[in-house]
Amino acid sequence: MAVKIIESCVNCFACEPVCPSKAIYEAKPHFLVDAKKCTECEGDFPDYQCASICPIEGAILDSLGLAINPPGSLTGIPPEKMAEAMAELQSH
């Protein structure tokens, strides 16, 4: 039972201080979760604290490997709109 931070993490430090179990640590190329320490906030908070402050969609996965903040859930940008804008930029 542990969450996981993946490569889309931008190293903003926001999650590190809010973890009740001190399971998150600075590492290269991005922050990591110590799976032995992570409790998924059980007993402390109803929501994953790291995933409640993380600004990057998809950067934190739950124990099933699913994005806790899926595309579009934080920025409000519909994923298809984002894909369209990126395709438009790359075509130049």
Binding site: I53, L74, T75, G76
Partner: protein, 496 residues
């Protein structure tokens, strides 16, 4: 279009005093002496000080506790110049070292700000450690912080301990329904709170923080991002509210939104305001509030005079090798600051006298004119047209000369071929000068000269090294004498 402008300034102060009709002073005039003294040498607060003094930001604060629709937290881009973007995140120790290195090498640097790239108060340990050490080790540097306000009430006590006398709060709205269109979520009391509920908490915290700072005697400037169709109609109300609570300066900034920034507004095609829309709003707010017009919306790691960035000279590997004797540097800085101060004082006096003279001589009833000026500081025209990265825009009218805004000559992002539909840099620059009828610089090349003339902007290289306001007024008089300016019909002037 310009008519409300001339009439606005006098109305806001109940009369246009001879010394202050125009540029810097009118934004500062209504301030009590105690505040004016604190801000008159601050490049970010005083329009004329920004020609002489420099500022820097240290990027020690990466975390943020809210999301704004104009921000993208993937912030590492060396080619962009906008708030929230940095290339190198610093530890407090590195930040202190960098600040002292810059202070020793750029003695006119008087102000250190922490502005991100996240929210400084969402990183209280890193932010306050930096302030604490700098107030001990470099006591001749003014410290400033900017914040979204969410964590502000809890930080006021600590801020007052570190002798920070200026705080900037970004307040884009006082109405949660508008807030929900700007802030998709906040992190508050261990929860992510979305929509109107989140915006309401943020607004309450901002207002509470503002009141607490004022009660502590800390100066507060308010920044607002003007977002057409979202809060543009609402910002005059924001200006009124923050003024009534004691903020001393309101800085309305244009939204920066490009799809390549990956922000909500950028991707969704939200546009920023035009130069005219921004100016109209700033003028509309100026009746209630001191407005700031020279903000450059700089990066969270900017170094140098406003409008320039010398960050490359002070990267971590470079400062590592610098030996700084700060006591010696402080002595040197003091002498230089006194000299700058003396120069500014004499220029202020000279300007006041000149303006009074102009007013006495000038019996013009001509319309106002916008002019662009290329300058790198010292209040004089000293940059070649082709070298200008930005232009300062002044308005000349029978009432005098006043500073309006700055405009960038190149676009925000690095400016490769993906930007700007194949326009040349020159075409982009000339388009940025739309609405101006003359451009004053130290020299203009042949090609731009022709293109400027074709665009209806008179190039002028005759006032190189002259003080800006005097040169602008001289050109205005020439234009009037040459019959280029229609008189304003009496009826319009009388009714205004």
């Amino acid at each position: 279009m310009q008519l409300p402008v001339i009439n606005d300034a006098p109305a806001s102060k109940g009369g246009c005093s001879a010394s202050s009709c125009g540029t810097t002073e009118n934004q500062m005039d209504s301030l009590p002496d105690s505040i004016r003294e604190k801000v008159q040498n601050h490049p970010c607060y005083s329009e004329d000080a920004h020609h002489y003094f420099a500022r820097m930001h240290v990027a020690v604060a990466p975390a943020c506790n809210i999301q704004c629709h104009y921000c993208n937290r993937k912030y590492d881009c060396a080619n962009e110049s906008r708030p929230g973007v940095v290339s190198e995140l610093l530890t407090p120790d590195q930040a202190v070292k960098k600040t002292m290195a810059v202070a020793a090498n750029i003695p006119q640097m008087t102000v250190l700000g922490i502005a991100g790239p996240g929210d400084p108060l969402a990183n209280p340990e890193r932010t306050f450690e930096t302030f604490r050490r700098l107030s001990e080790e470099a006591p001749d540097i003014k410290l400033c912080v900017s914040t979204n306000g969410l964590a502000l009430p809890d930080a006021v006590e600590e801020l007052s301990k570190h002798n920070i006398d200026h705080v900037t709060i970004t307040i884009n709205c006082v109405d949660p329904e508008i807030g929900a269109k700007i802030y998709p979520w906040i992190y508050w009391k261990n929860k992510r709170i979305k929509g109107i509920k989140g915006a309401k908490i943020l607004i309450e915290q901002q207002q509470k923080g503002l009141e607490m700072l004022i009660a502590k005697g800390i100066l507060v400037k308010v920044n607002s991002v003007m977002i057409p169709g979202v809060n543009d109609q609402h910002l005059a109300e924001v200006s009124k509210v923050v003024k009534s609570k004691g903020a001393f300066l309101h800085n309305v900034m244009p939204l920066i939104a490009e799809a390549e920034h990956g922000t909500f507004y950028g991707v969704m095609g939200q546009r920023g305001p035009t130069h005219d829309e921004l100016q109209d709003l700033q003028d509309a707010c100026s009746g209630d509030m001191n407005m700031m017009r020279h903000c450059r919306q700089c990066r969270a790691d900017a170094v140098g005079m406003l409008g320039e960035d010398r960050g490359d000279e002070f990267t971590l590997d470079k400062i590592e090798d610098m030996e700084i004797d700060y006591q010696a540097a402080m002595e040197k800085r003091k002498v230089i600051h006194q000299a700058i101060q003396a120069e500014m004082d004499s220029k202020r006096l000279e300007k006041a006298t000149k303006v009074a003279q102009h007013k006495a001589e000038l019996k013009l009833t001509t319309r106002p004119v916008l002019m662009a000026v290329a300058t790198s500081g010292q209040g004089i025209i000293n940059v070649h047209f082709g070298h200008a990265k930005e232009f300062l825009i002044y308005e000349a009218s029978p009432d005098g000369v006043r500073f309006i805004s700055h405009r960038k000559a190149d676009q925000y992002c690095g400016g490769d071929t993906t930007c700007g539909d194949g326009e040349s840099t020159l075409q982009v620059t000339i388009r940025a000068l739309a609405g101006c009828e003359a451009v004053l610089c130290s020299k203009v090349g042949y090609e731009p000269w022709e293109m400027l003339e074709a665009a209806g902007i008179a190039p002028n290289g005759e006032h190189a090294m002259e003080p800006i306001e005097e040169a602008v007024m001289a050109v205005y008089k020439e234009m009037a004498a040459a019959g280029k300016l229609d008189n304003i019909p009496e009826a319009v002037r009388a009714s205004a």
